[in-house]
């Protein structure tokens, strides 16, 4: 697509990146068809092509962000279905990241919006604060219908509804020796929200890997990947989180080596795999970040590299596999989770419209609760139509979102795999 950036403008590497990305777009419109918000709202402005055009126009004219562009960029789930569809290879992810950072730098949001975002950024990435907030949310749940009556307070209502009834106890560090002959050494990312909401996921990954002879090393100092703040445009905060994690993992790399950094929440995985890009202009960290990104693997990717034995007593259950967007579109990991479930003895069903987002998308189901709820309904309907016994997914956000809309058990894929290969039956299955 034609662009009209001035030479002076593209001297700024950030603008040069925007131009390079936009130049690849041929405006064919294929992306509109698989975009959850275009499918829901039927407006070009809420499609990837429309957003690319809005972003191009803003940067070409060197304008600060305005209400119109913020509306349509905020509605983007960053599910990246468009990048799977795009035949031209438009790097929409980094384009929308750049737009979000520009919005954060140049646009003053209404007071309530600012407050809610500040609270989310200050609480969610920190497990202790998040756990305390969830306990409080339990007390606040009866007020959700009240908040629902006011547009600006809808995010509060959505937050209260998403909070679990009971909050699990704090998880022990995710580390342990290999059983039998050691085949590898990895770190399992502890992360933030998942470690609070569903500590059994990493526990399952740990015990399964240990059984297969993999040592899991602890990485003190590692924390939230930074995705949450990054998607709010808080680029400096995201870089800070990335540097902290890179430092933590590089210590392990330097002391004993690491075969992989295993991520069990695919939303985080997408971000960790992009640390190399996020810190590319930071000369002190760029090389180390690139190394960390290269080591990062979704747990299903790593397991697929191991020679797995026949499960002794395979569970005879039918699993509807929900492909998390961050896994299928963000990381392009599509076959491994399904192949592992089949290998473990499950019958795997895929729902219709597997490319469409469930509406979770980080904090999206809090900040854009109406669209998120529509998408959740569509996803749950498709998943339930498979008549499966259980729904599996590889991302905590999806598990929470889908779980709040169906009576079927919703379980992290790794917990089903751990069960099939001798671990405990997931508590969700009763």
């Amino acid at each position: 697509m034609q662009t009209t950036f001035s030479l002076a403008a593209v001297a700024d590497p950030k603008i040069a990146e925007v131009e390079a990305i936009v130049r690849k777009c041929v405006h064919c419109g294929l992306c509109t068809a698989t975009c959850p918000t275009y499918v829901t709202l039927g407006n070009e402005l809420d499609s990837p092509r429309g957003r690319i055009y809005l972003i191009k126009d803003m940067f070409e004219n060197g304008r600060p962000a305005d209400r119109e562009i913020v509306t349509h960029i905020d509605r983007c789930l960053s599910c990246l279905a468009c990048t799977t569809t795009c035949p031209s290879g438009v790097d929409y992810m980094h384009l929308v990241d750049r737009a979000r950072a520009h919005i954060h730098e140049t646009y003053r949001r209404p007071l309530l919006d600012r407050l809610i975002r500040a609270v989310l950024a200050a609480v969610l990435p920190y497990p202790a604060r998040f756990r305390a907030a969830l306990v409080l949310a339990g007390l606040g749940r009866p007020f959700a219908p009240l908040f629902d009556r006011f547009a600006a307070l809808k995010p509060m209502a959505a937050m209260l509804r998403l909070a679990p009834i009971s909050v699990p106890a704090a998880a022990p560090p995710v580390a342990g020796p290999a059983q039998g002959k050691r085949r590898g050494r990895v770190a399992i990312m502890a992360g933030c929200a998942q470690s609070v909401l569903d500590p059994e996921t990493n526990a399952a990954a740990l015990s399964l890997l240990a059984r297969f002879g993999v040592e899991v090393a602890a990485a003190p100092g590692e924390g939230c990947c930074g995705a949450l703040v990054h998607h709010m445009g808080r680029e400096a905060d995201a870089r800070q989180a990335a540097r902290r994690n890179v430092a933590a993992w590089m210590r392990l790399v330097d002391e004993g080596g690491l075969d992989a950094i295993i991520v069990t929440a695919s939303g985080c995985g997408t971000t960790v795999k992009d640390y190399g890009h996020l810190l590319a202009s930071d000369s002190e960290w760029a090389a180390k970040a690139k190394r960390v990104s290269a080591l990062a693997l979704d747990v299903s990717e790593y397991l697929a590299t191991l020679d797995l034995p026949e499960p002794a007593d395979p569970p005879r259950l039918t699993v509807a596999y929900h492909a998390a967007c961050s896994l299928q579109h963000g990381q392009k990991v599509t076959a491994a989770p399904k192949a592992l479930l089949v290998r473990a003895g499950f019958t795997v069903k895929e729902p219709r419209e597997p490319h469409l987002c469930c509406g979770s998308a980080g904090t999206y189901n809090i900040l854009q609760s109406e669209i998120a709820t529509t998408l959740k309904g569509r996803k749950v309907k498709n998943l339930e139509a498979t008549r499966a016994d259980v729904i599996a997914a590889g991302n905590i956000g999806c598990l929470t979102q889908i779980g709040s809309g169906t009576g079927l058990p919703v379980v992290h894929t790794i917990k089903l795999l751990d069960w099939a290969w001798g671990g405990p039956k997931p508590k969700e299955l009763g």
Binding site: Q2, V26, H27, G29, L30, T32, A33, L45, D66
Partner: protein, 478 residues
Amino acid sequence: MSAIAFLEPDAGVIARRGAIIAGLVECVGADGLVSEERELKPFETDGFAAYRRMPLAVVLPKTTAEVASVMRFLHAEGVKVVARGAGTSLSGGAIPEEDAVVLGLSRMSRILEIDLPNRLARVQAGVTNLAISDAVDADGFFYAPDPSSQLACTIGGNIGMNSGGAHCLKYGVTTNNLLGVTLVLADGTVTEIGGGALDGAGLDLLGLVCGSEGQLGIVTEATVRLIAKPEGQRPVLFGFPSSESASACVSDIIAAGIVPVAIEFMDRPAIAICEAFAHAGYPLDAEALLIVEVEGSTVEMDAMLRKIVDIAHRHAVMTVKESQSAYEAALIWKGRKSAFGATGRVADYICMDGTVPLSQLTRVLRQTAEIVAAYGLRVANVFHAGDGNMHPLILYNVNDPVEAEKAEAAGMDILKLCVEAGGCLTGEHGVGIEKRDLMRHQFSKAELDQQMRVRAAFDPAWRLNPSKVFPLDDRGAA
């Protein structure tokens, strides 16, 4: 590029913009209207993005009644209307004008009725082409015309352009698969044309509406034919040592009376582009590739393939490769259908759409290469060879005004060549603005005048997509 002119905007209409917008809000509500300048910008173009015009406003109605109300209002106000489906037109069919309202059908995306005993589906105009096939896939049916943009393009847009696709060799283009439409006329009158059968009663107005590029009315609903899926289908790759041998092979297949479902052609640059995207196993050492799809029972497919392979051997075919699984077959089509977009990885491009008699294919391909080379540019060919519908993709740098002008000039030369070879300007993309000024090469003045009189019978004030299809000057006779 700025060679193609639009009509001068009506300053009076632009001056009344505020009142017109207020009236449109009455028709579709504030939620159905886009009027902020920043938000209008993404509507300024379609798949022919080298040309752009800002619209006066955009309306996004949800029902035929809302469309009718918008059309009544704009008729009373004397305001122009440009219909838009998914905005994937490669000829600029949905590019707006400064004094025109864009009527977007994207919110009319419901499938209204599926009637399997009668083999038909009734859908709103904003339903995507592929969504129809998806909806009846489990029952063993599909909707046949399959433009490469079928994932995104709407049935309304397909009707506007009488779209084709790879599988039209056997099943025909949109007009052969359309049974009826709900058409909102220029003054807002709602009419039904056609019905549930291929040949409706009375004058074939349906044939007239199909391919009229949004100039006779706004299609809001369509009834289309569903076709039972074949027992089996198998795309086969044929690699040739030259474009000449491949195109001669196509001519011979058709001349022998064999009608496969599809015969698609790619030359070496196109093979490289598509293979890099789809990893479909296209032969990278071939100068030209044919994708031939046969369908039916195994016996039928084997028999037809044998004949085709025999003919291919007479043209020095280098590789013959059958898809071994449904997955491989899907990749073969994914690569072909993504060809235009995937070309965007390599360069900017404009896509031509001329159609030539099969006997002329070899010559036109050779001369196309010569024309493009004479302008110092590169070309990739990927097209529906079985029906002679060529799509040379002229590669250039859109940010370089000199190259842009050359690319456009080369394109015009190629289309003239197609007409001179006994073909026509457009196989399936429509005339739009892109080929409008070449219509005189295709038609005499008398022929154009007659077409314009038919057009004016539906839209006497020339308010519907007015800058498109017919050359701007000399419209007086109509």
